[in-house]
Amino acid sequence: MRLFDLSFSVKLPVLGAVLIIISALGVSSTQMIATYAALKEDLRVNSETLSRALAPTLLQDMLHDDLWHAFETVSAPTRKPPGSTQAKAETLLVVDKALNIFVSSHPRTAPVLVALSSLGRDYAALGEQITQAPRKDAYTVELPASNHLYVLTPIADDQVRFGTLIIVIDKNLFLPRFYAIAGYGLLAALLVLILLLPINWHWGRRMALPLTQLTERMGEIGKRLPASLDPELYNYGDELGRLFSVYNQMLAELHTRAEMEKQIIQSERLAALGQLAASMAHEINNPLGGMLTAIDTLKCHTALDPQTRKTIDLIERGLSQIKETVGALLVEARLKSRHLNSQDIEDMLTLIMPQAHKKNLHVELYNGLNAELNVPATLIRQILINLLLNAVEATLPQGTIDCYITPENGVLYMRVTNDGKLPSHEQITHLFEPFFSLNDGGHGLGLWVTYQIVNQLGGKIMATRESELMKFTLEIPIEASA
């Protein structure tokens, strides 16, 4: 897996951390480089100042050949001052005109009278510099591949040069100070890191979590509809926040569409079933009518022995049963009927009340009808009685049935709600199919008939389950008064 393939929940905090660390290191190292340069410059300036201060004294010592005083003079700066961890210089040398040591702070390594060039490569190079390019003032020489700085100062009066003071400084003399300063710098950087890294980590996760969830949810689309995202997870107005709301919007639309598709499929199935049932009923009714007529004729005009009559009766009852069943399937809503009025509704309630009382049910009715409506009263009464009886059947003792009926916006709106024994979501999708019964007693045609009637009246019926309530909602268009 490549680095950039990692999840944002890892990548964002890590990248943030890397950037913070790089920044901290960058600032620290810039500061260190600047400090290093400044300390080195300080060292050079201090040493040149020291050499200018010592030169006149050493001139007197050379003039009077006062070796001891010269020694005291040059060895003082090589001693650590009280309270300090380092001396001003590593070594001080005074050479005469012939480049022999007049005095040095370390006579063991640079004894009196020896030639400067015999002290090593660096000193030989310095000797050449002194003879070939003499200067009037103190100056600093940095030799290649040397750990030392050399401050050369002429020891001279106005005219004559008597010798040269060489101050040898360890280039790393200021390193302890540098390390101390660098240490503080690093400590500060570390504190910043300790402070910033957790903030960065939290912020990175905070940014990445919504993205991660969004990605997971989006990945589910196609397989099933994912849950919506909690808007509180990221309720800001930036691109991510907008992505969130767009996602939730899209999800809502997907849900609506899926719901619609489900309803279309269901109504198409029911329509197909209705057609099939009607066609079959017609096909069965025609020969059935003939058979019943024939039997009736046979019974009236022929003397039949008891055995035969018994058989004929049996056949007649069977055929009648077929006729009833087929008749029940074949819902004919084209009956002429009077208009619906408020009393029709009250009647239906009255009809079911005995049964409701038996189960001690609480029945609530809102009857919004205050005038006759141009909807067929017989059919509406049939629909209502079906729904109410179903509700009484399903409701447990002490339960509640709510019936709400009112005309609005050109439709008759009816709603029957009950609690108690509720069908499953799967069962609900088959409620309106013929011979589908939830209890053993029923023939399973009540809701089928209801559906067919509603359908033929050009209305809509919906069965939904809302929490612990079963709800039937109907809308029957009211025909404009003739």
Binding site: D65, D66, L67, W68, F71, S75, V103, H106, P107, R108, P111, V112, L113
Partner: protein
Amino acid sequence: MSRFLLPISNIFHHSCLYLVRALAFGAFALALSFPTCGATTEMARPAIRFGVTPAIVHDQYGILDLWRAYLERKLQRRVEFVSRDSYRDTIDLIKEKKLDFAWVSTYPYVYLEYRHYARLLATPLYRGRPYYRAYFIVPSSDTQSTSLLQLEGKVFAYADLYSNTGYLVPRYFIHQAGKDENRFFSKTFFTWSHRKVVMAVAEGLADGGSIDSFVWDTLAVIQPDLTKNTRIIGKSEEFGFPPIVVNSAVSKRDASAMRNALIDMVNDPEGQALLRQLNIDGFIAGTPKLYANVARLQRAFGER
């Protein structure tokens, strides 16, 4: 030798151990505070002026002040210590009769005695005897040299131009060996103090040096880190210990009073404590014969 002199014992000429100026001012201030308290006739007389150069012992000022107070009580006279940083100054003060007594080095003593500017008053006893000598030292890193004569062509540190053990003795030694003492070393220099001779040799600035045995022995006790970096390769003959001299102008009565006070120091606890701090054992009357060999050295260089 035209510039010939020195104040008190060259032994005591050690800049880092004493506070020359402070001492001079201190002694002067203390001396001034006494005239008012003189009740006796003796105390009414002018103060005795005693020339000193700082001694090697630590806490110099305190010791000398205690010693001065001790002498005042013993002599019943005001005593004023006069400290000078250079041998030359002390000799001049004696010549000009501005000092009644002085503790001087052997070399100036011989000079002053010979010219009758001053007389021997008392000689200190060091390790029970009135003698000291010169040590010839080299850095301890030099493990080869066994004699001063092996240092030919080297760098050599002298203490003082007017020092016996720090200048005259090594030069005489070389002279006696038939060498030219002025060209024997490739380079010589003065440190103006015996102690600094030890430092110069210990640091390797000089390949050799000559030093007062009293100084070296005392340093070996109080500053062993310094002396352990040096090695003694030769010792000279013994010389009379740097003495106390009395100006020729001082009356015999006053001189003997001072001599008795000094010699009696060993007899009382306070005097003994002072002697311990001065790192000497006492004073004896002494005799010029003790210093005869110093005179011989001077004669060898035609300096008398």
